[in-house]
Every structure is written in C-alpha cells, then in structure tokens.
C-alpha cells in the first residue's frame, strides 16, 4: 500500500533532517549555508507533496531534496556549505556526498543527483 500524503511528508521531513545532520558531521564542514532560493522554498514550511503523491520536495537551511516515489524511491539532494580550510574543499565535498549516499542507502532509498556546493571557505 502506498504512503499517504501525510506519511510521505513526515518521512521526507525526517530524511531531510538526517541528511543535514550527516552533512554537518563531516570533517571540514562548518555549516549548511542558506541561499536565497533556499529561503524562498522554506516560506512553504516543511515538505511539499507533488504530483498527487508521486514526488515530494523539502528544504531547510542549506539543504534541498526532491524525492521521486517508485518501487525504490529516488532522492536528489543539493547542499550548500561553508567549509573550513583544514582540508581541501574538494575532499570535504566528496565526503559529504559519501555521507549523503550512506544515509539514503541505509534508509532503503536510491541516491539520485547529489550536488554539493561549497559557497565559502572560512577560517
């Protein structure tokens, strides 16, 4: 039986929060960085269910995800980061993508396009 809109919304909110936690736990990540696009998406609080329950979109500070409902749901994630110069930004970004992949697979989901954007390097 497919999930109701409310169940999909709650599950996607929870997934977004776990992906955000996994991101900020990566060595070299200072914080998730909010963007204007991100802020405008957040005006619509929580997760938005789209296409009659066939997809969901969710955003919080510095993270957006889009979930396509299928036999195994496919999830696209975009994170915006401020990083520390303790290691190359490229290494931090790769580790963030690996952390996102791990959380999605542990949740029984298929990683889609995982985009990691470093917006600033802070000392």
């Amino acid at each position: 039986m497919s999930a109701t809109h409310a169940e999909l919304r709650a599950a996607t909110d929870d997934l977004r929060d776990r992906l955000a936690e996994a991101t900020v736990a990566v060595d070299g990540v200072v914080r998730l960085e909010p963007t204007l696009r991100n802020a405008l998406r957040r005006l619509q609080a929580g997760t938005t269910v789209l296409a009659g329950g066939q997809a969901a979109r969710s955003a919080a500070d510095g993270i957006e995800l889009h979930r396509r409902v299928a036999v195994v749901d496919v999830v696209d994630v975009h994170v915006d980061l401020a990083v520390s110069p303790v290691r190359p930004a490229s290494a931090t970004a790769r580790d963030v993508r690996a952390a996102l992949t791990r959380v999605l697979r542990e949740s029984g989901l298929e990683p889609g396009r995982l985009a990691v954007a470093v917006l600033s390097v802070e000392r």
Binding site: L36, A39, A89, V118, L119, S120, V121
Partner: protein
C-alpha cells in the same frame, strides 16, 4: 581584505545597488561582475515593485524588519558569489565551489606577501591546452580542476617587483590548491598602482 559586500572587481554591491535607477557608469559598462550584478539586481528590483504593489493593497502582507534584513543579507551573498567552479573536473560532476570562495583564498594569499595588496580578481576554469608556465609539479594536486587566476595588485614603494610577484604566484597556487583542491595553471598579474 575580507569584505562581505565586495564583488570580485573590488566594487561594493551596495554601490551598484545605489545607482541602479540610472545608467551604468564607465567602470560598470566594461566590468563583467558589475554587469552581472546589475542584471540580477534589476530582476530583484522588478520583483520588489510587484511586492510593494501588493503590500499597498493589503498592509498585512508587509514583512517584519528582521525578515527583510535576513533576505537582503542573502541577496548580497547571492549576487557576489559568481560562477560555480567544478571541483573535480569531469570525474565527479555535481561538486562545485563558488568563484567568490576561491577569490577569497587568492586575496588571503596575496595579503601574506609583504608589500602587496590585492585588488580585482577573477578565477576561471582553464579551457585550452596551454601547459603550466613554470611546470612546478609540487603545485599539482591530482584530480582537481585546472583554473587560471587574473589578479590586479598594488605595491608599496620599494617593493622588489620580480621577487614579490614570484612569491605571490607561488602562494596563490599553493593556497588555492591546499584549501580548495583546484589546480592553478596560471596566475596573470597586473600592477595597477603604487600605495
């Protein structure tokens, strides 16, 4: 050197915003950063006019001061961010760093060189097959995207030009490589002024 409102050309976003209603000045007409900033700010201005029209009809739609300030902070950050540079070339698409973040590394490297003050800076992905000019393998970080840096500088009187610019090129390449993972192929310098 770090200034949250400065574009890569050195001009403040607030300066661009302050005369958005008029024609671009001489600098703006030839500056790609200011032209891009003006285009983005004009779109924002048009959206703001629409919102003001709505607010006039219904005052309850007016946002509070804190919300307005936070949105304006994001707008300034967004406008100056520049292009997204791929971190790993074609090997791992989707991992990027903002041009402004790399410019910040270049400025920090330049400020560490005695007698040098950095001014305008541009960082671009290298698009041709021109070889590294100094061939210094120690500055090559495997896997990173190749970039070219254009930097204008001012020098303090008495600064030895050749020594300072050699040191500067090395420090820019090292810092950008170590802290971003990008590989600097070339640093083109222009001495604009004496302090």
């Amino acid at each position: 050197m770090a200034d949250d409102t400065r574009l890569s050309c050195g001009r403040s976003i607030d300066d661009v915003w302050s005369h958005l209603d008029g024609a671009p000045d001489e600098h703006e007409r030839s500056c790609p950063y200011c032209l891009e900033a003006r285009a983005r700010l004009l779109r924002l201005s048009e959206a703001a006019v629409d919102l003001r029209t709505s607010e006039a009809a219904d005052p309850s739609l007016q946002p509070d001061v804190g919300f307005t300030a936070s949105v304006m902070g994001l707008v300034r950050a967004e406008v100056r961010r520049g292009q997204a540079i791929p971190l790993d070339g074609d090997e791992d698409p989707g991992l990027t760093i903002s041009e402004q973040a790399v410019v910040g590394l270049v400025w920090a490297a330049a400020d560490s060189v005695p007698g040098v003050r950095a001014r305008r800076c541009r960082v671009r992905v290298a698009v041709d097959d021109e070889p590294d000019l100094d061939g210094d393998a120690a500055r090559v970080f495997e896997g990173g995207t190749l970039v070219d840096v254009d930097l204008s500088i001012a020098l303090q009187p008495g600064t030895a030009l050749v020594e300072a610019t050699t040191l500067l090129r090395g420090r820019v390449a090292d810092r950008v490589g170590e802290e971003s993972g990008l590989r600097v192929r070339r640093v083109d310098l222009a001495v604009e002024d004496v302090l």
